[in-house]
Symmetry: C2
């Protein structure tokens, strides 16, 4: 694809219009499937134009809301703009926009937190209602009408297949060398017609590099030249490095015990600084010929590819810092053999994750002493972002690791709690919990045995006495002692203990001051 | 196989001994993998003999405990006997024995609640420690040493492959015509060597009818002639029939909407009276050419096969009433084309369940207004039985249904609660909740929308006002309003409301009595 003209198909060329004009083609009440995954490959023009139209409608006293379905999180120009004008009726399956989050938690916007691997089949199966319009960014349009996918694939195949109407954004900012990097699988079906997904190794390509579409469904083509949102990563802090260290030590131990091959198994890693620290740790670690079967390609993984430590990474999207992106774009053809971008139904497919034996590494908000994990809710009631792909990977992984600093908010809150306030990953699905304090291997342990290692290995020393006290009390007074709990204290014990502790400390300090005063 | 001599291999014939002698070959501290799944195909002699040995050891002041791993639940002669003498150190992955349950909940026995599909790979991967001895019931031994499986397959292939030593129980009570009914798949592997499981339709046979073993590992063969534990089902009560009615109506609606084929998709159904009522409902329903890809074959499914409504059922075990069993055994060859018994790692394999698009129907202990399900714990602390295969099926199903009467204990407890006290199936994995009151279709609904339909469609009218009050209060006072909750009231609200309600009723009655007294 030549960078100058990215719309080679004459029919689609004839559909070019402004974002403002295209936005007029979307009616209120429509369900709109948008491209975009972790800030890559989202439409840059249409959503903002639509937000302006909604603003105008609001000013004229008209209600105008749409359903917004995406791959995962997008950017201020999409989620932010539409949420600012209160234009989203229902959002799914994952978001991380502050304005969206605020509206959802104020009860002003509905949000459904769906496993990322489930979205395509739910839409195809008609479980979420009709998809009216697809708005998809592409890197270009071939002469025969096929589309070159952009920097993320997400649910785009499903949107293009299922929507009544299609609006395309052709983004000249996207590297033309993306062509050929994608693997779009057209072999999926609804039951009873499903066949095995034929991936047996991370590097297996099973599809084609383009999206197929019905050109008659395309109602608008928008041209743009805007960059993906990319945020810089902070360099790994000491806690992240410690977490990474514990994970590396664990992996080496598993290899030594013969429970993992020398080059490990395909790695999956969530987004964020801890994940990046683990990748940095692998850079200096003893493992070679690594592979990654994951959702998102971050800086750390790119570094591993560059150094030759990682031979192949399969994902559905990039999520790179501006620096890493510049580097990637300068040298993209070199990475074509080692990076595959797939639809998220395939990157997160339970069947493939289980078969490959992925090592899943995901973050969390809080874990409890019995190994249940909350990935989504603050105080059980406010959504943070969503479960994303963590459930797809953790549930089907060969080894399922969850990682977090042991405390949050400058050490004032323990991330290890008696009972999580919301469960996204049950005790049945969590094998390893890691904090900067250490690692708890929960495999083969009963709930009570888990509680001991979680408290002693993972909790911050400041909160260990409180957690021990809760667990001791629970063992004594719990109605049942398989999973000892005091239900009427489970959520209040830790906050009360912390408050009392602060009071005790103040009292101790006051006593000391008085004692000092007396001493003088 | 001739019924008279079931041990055709001379070497294994030479290993025949009494259960008492065989029990002496199991040392304290051993991990023992036993056959048995929902009361079918468990060893009838060795466990009781071992329990007696443990009793003797205890009387001599010696501690003697073993780890007991099975397929699922067994019988009093196994779990009951060993638990009575406190002979079980660790139990997994599922049990339903009253003595076991009592010990676990008293904190005297450790129990790990593992997804049934995970057990084989955990053991093979070395995650649960060394498996020392396999104790497996078989229907017979071929001349070349291969084994004819019994009335359940469970984890037997894994036990026979992984254990250092093998003890076989050859049960002449088992129908010799079981030969040929099983499909033992030897194509599994640990990653990175896994291939697709080649099942594309319920009726696909992908393995062989026998277990292969290394005869040199066999240390004892025990002969027996004892029946499987079989319990009668109570005839479906009105509530079960109503639940079945709602499910049938739902399935018809889905077919009408084009979301399910006319002959539905492969059915999975948990064990119990409600499940049996659903099967009875299907007997009179409009669907033909049904199939079942499930864990356990109950009476209702057998009836569907007999009537020609169900063309093929794949499971890992039978769980029949004595009457149904007599009928099956009288006519077993007739069922050979329509029943397949597979290892539980295959009957419950996420890959196959997802591919076939199973309709999963499982029971529950309590569900909350936001769609989280507790299948295992009483008051968050005592285990009932275990998660069994419900997670394997619900998580990977095309449609995941949970069913329960709306209240328990003669109507004194609501099975719909503000917040479940233990989560086995998260809000992300529960699509349909059904009680005798009605059906809540949670697909495409946000948490708040779910709360409304769960309360109005599923809760018992006696508890609806309480649940509405909680939900209203939560919407007003919850710190976040994505999933409105009052954490300090979530577990006490309903019991308090019930107690207050009883007090109110008593007060009203007393007022009436006094009013009456004044009136006279």
């Amino acid at each position: 694809m030549d960078g100058a003209n990215r719309i080679l198909n004459p029919h689609l060329r004839s559909k070019v219009m402004s974002a403002h004009e295209a936005a007029l083609l979307i009616p209120s009440g429509a369900n709109v499937g948008m491209s975009g995954f972790t800030g890559a490959g989202y439409p840059k023009e249409l959503p903002t134009a639509l937000a302006k139209r909604i603003l105008d409608a609001n000013l004229h006293g008209q209600k105008f809301k749409i359903g917004v379905w995406t791959g995962a999180s997008t950017a201020p120009e999409l989620d932010g703009a539409l949420a600012m004008v209160d234009g989203i009726e229902m959002r799914l399956p994952y978001q991380s926009d502050p304005t969206c989050r605020k509206r959802i938690n104020a009860g002003e916007m509905e949000y459904i937190d769906v496993h990322l691997s489930h979205v395509a089949q739910f839409v195809w199966g008609g479980f979420l209602g009709k998809l009216d319009v697809a708005v998809v960014e592409v890197a270009g349009i071939l002469e025969d009408g096929r589309l070159i996918p952009s920097s993320s694939v997400g649910n785009n195949k499903t949107w293009l297949d299922q929507a009544d109407k299609i609006i395309l954004e052709v983004n000249a900012w996207q590297n033309p060398h993306l062509e050929g990097m994608h693997d779009i699988y057209y072999g999926t079906a609804l039951p009873p017609h499903r066949k095995a997904i034929p991936i047996e190794r991370t590097e297996d390509r099973i599809g084609e590099p383009y999206f197929r579409i019905d050109p008659s469904k395309v109602i608008a083509v928008i041209e743009t030249n805007k960059a993906d949102r990319n945020s810089a990563f902070t360099p790994p802090d000491q806690n992240s490095q410690r977490i990474a260290g514990h994970i590396l030590e664990f992996l080496q131990h598993e290899v030594k015990m013969g429970r993992l091959p020398k080059n490990l198994l395909p790695l999956q890693s969530g987004v964020g600084n801890v994940a990046n620290a683990v990748m940095a740790g692998l850079q200096d670690g003893p493992f070679d010929n690594l592979t990654a079967y994951t959702e998102v390609l971050q800086d750390g993984m790119l570094e591993l590819i560059k150094s030759g430590k990682l031979t192949c990474a399969s994902a559905t999207s990039f999520s790179l810092s501006p620096n890493a992106l510049t580097e990637l774009n300068a040298d993209l053809p070199r990475f074509k053999d080692s990076i595959i971008l797939r639809p998220q139904e395939i990157s997160n497919h339970p069947e493939v994750i289980r078969r490959l034996g992925v090592i899943a590494m995901n973050g969390l908000i809080e874990a409890d002493i019995y190994g249940n994990v909350n990935s989504t809710h603050i105080m059980g009631t406010s959504i943070m972002n969503g479960i994303g792909g963590s459930g797809d990977f953790a549930r089907n992984a060969f080894i399922s690791i969850f990682m977090t600093p042991s405390s949050a908010k400058n050490g004032s809150i323990s991330c290890i709690v008696p009972m999580v306030s919301h469960v996204d990953h049950t005790e049945h699905d969590v094998q390893i919990i890691v904090t900067e304090q250490g690692l708890a291997d929960l495999r083969g342990l009963s709930p009570k045995q888990r509680a001991k290692v979680v408290i002693e290995n993972c909790a911050h020393p400041n909160f260990r006495p409180a957690l021990r006290e809760y667990y001791d009390r629970a063992q004594r007074y719990s109605p049942g002692r398989h999973t000892p709990h005091l239900l009427d204290e489970a959520y209040t014990f830790l906050p009360n203990w912390i408050a009392n502790n602060a009071a005790r400390a103040a009292w101790r300090q006051e006593s000391t001051v008085q004692a000092d005063a007396w001493a003088t």
